[in-house]
């Protein structure tokens, strides 16, 4: 009991100590001296906070542009992935397995390579980002949702069959609930994919959003502002992931324990 409490305390205190030490060393210019870099290359924490404070309106607008694209692409991609997983489920088993394997391989590709091509097809900035994100996100949801829905134990299927459950009832009563842990795994994993996709698009071509803000601030030699934009992206990533973890625990506590 006391060791469990000690572990819990350590798990909170140790990261805090490391964080405080790290930021203090950074503020004391130890890293700058160590790597021989001036503060205009690696700005100090207080400069970054100050830059964020001085440019709140601009950063807020850029955040809005980035986050809209993330949300749009993320929803479209995960929705598409789920619908395709349902279609895969309707295929004969052998064909579905092969298609699943193909999409698993697809998942491992540097899909971001198609971003310049999408830029040709979709000139609109928001839709360009959303399309790239959709293409990056959907294979993960497809693979995870399909695995979850097709991986139900045969005994459960037999039970459903003995109740004369329709395909639809098997889907809503058995397959989808069984796939909830995998679906959430995909939902969590694709948050960072969506952010990566949008940031790459913004650095590559768009003239809005936090990715462009980083690029633009560096061109104007306001490094602290660029770092502030990176910091906001980091916070957005951590926040969206955390929201999903909380949602999963609140809505599907049994799935959260298993996943």
């Amino acid at each position: 009991m006391s060791t469990a409490t000690a572990t819990r305390v350590r798990n909170v205190v140790a990261p805090l100590v490391i964080f405080v030490v790290f930021v203090s060393l950074w503020q004391a210019q130890v890293f700058n001296d160590l790597f021989g870099l001036e503060t205009f290359a690696i700005p100090l924490p207080d400069q970054i906070v100050e830059a964020a404070g001085d440019n709140t309106a601009e950063l807020w607008r850029a955040f809005g542009q980035t986050f809209t694209a993330v949300l749009l692409g993320y929803s479209l991609g995960n929705g598409l992935g789920f619908v395709l997983a349902l279609l895969l489920l309707a295929l004969p088993h052998g064909a579905a397995r092969r298609a699943g394997a193909a999409f698993t391989a697809f998942q491992a590709l540097p899909i971001i390579a198609i971003a310049p091509l999408v830029a040709l097809w979709v000139p609109d900035s928001l839709w360009f980002k959303a399309c790239v994100v959709t293409i990056m996100v959907f294979p993960s949801m497809l693979v995870y949702a399909w695995r979850g829905m097709s991986g139900v134990p045969p005994e459960s299927l037999e039970l459903m069959a003995s109740y004369r459950a329709s395909t639809r009832q098997i889907l809503t009563g058995l397959r989808i609930p069984a796939a909830v842990p995998q679906i959430f795994t995909a939902l969590k994993y694709t948050t960072v994919l969506a952010l990566i996709g949008v940031v790459v698009c913004e650095i590559l071509k768009s003239h809005d959003g936090l990715g462009y803000e980083i690029h633009d601030a560096l061109q104007l030699f306001s490094t602290p502002l660029a770092w502030a934009a990176v910091g906001i992206l980091a916070l957005v990533g951590i926040a969206t992931y955390t929201v999903l973890v909380v949602l999963e625990r609140a809505l599907f506590p049994w799935a959260a324990r298993r996943g």
């Binding site: 140790a14 960072v192 790459v200």
Partner: protein
Amino acid sequence: MSLAPGTKGRERLITAAVVVGVLALWYVAALLVQSGDDPLAASKLPYPHGVIEQIVDNRSVLAEAGWTTLKQALIGFAVGAVVGIFSSVVMAQAAWLEAGVIPFILAAQMIPMIALVPIAQNIFKNDDVTRIFIAAFITFFSVSIAVLRGLKSAPPPAYELMSSYNAGRAKTLRYLRLPAAVPMMFTGLRIAAPLSLVGSVLVDLSGAQSGLGYLMLAAITFGSEGAAVLWGAMIVLLALGFLMTQAVVLVERIVAPWQPDLRHGKA
């Protein structure tokens, strides 16, 4: 798992049919796109034979650019993997250090590290160093969290066995925890391989003067003249990512053939 010859033949037939079907669809779509008067049609969707022609015609350019991008990604991947593995093993030796570092490595997985590309370019002022740094940085986080998890993955009875043999910390690490960490380490490496390539390409895309990403950007900027290389560069990049992942899988098969995932022909 052995398939009857008939089944195997049918599988091949179906695969061939799918490939032919996709190619046919591609030709029809390309025909539709090219029949319009869009000057960029050739870049947007060339014919399949046109793409192959592009790759063959521009093979030296593509090979050079591909090698630039791949080389730095590989160096960064190797550096990140070695540093990640080594530092995780060290961190796993002190419980308080591990507890202190894990939240940050976890958080790093949720952050689009790619946003650091312009910042790194600004610091290093050198495209090659930036590519290596970004690839190493991304690989480091994927690999170190995987190894840290893997080092803890051995079941409690295994530890009891080790202590019944009076094995010390070093022997437990060598004979239990390190082998137990190998499968997860390879999972981390498999995830990191295409990501390190993405990191390297993004450096090309954001202002470098070489590499596959630079070729693609040039293709877009120069309109129809540059169209020839866009698809070629894209396909080479996708192929390189695929090959890097497959290389990791191959090494895994050689190094850890006992890995349960591989025994059943999965992964």
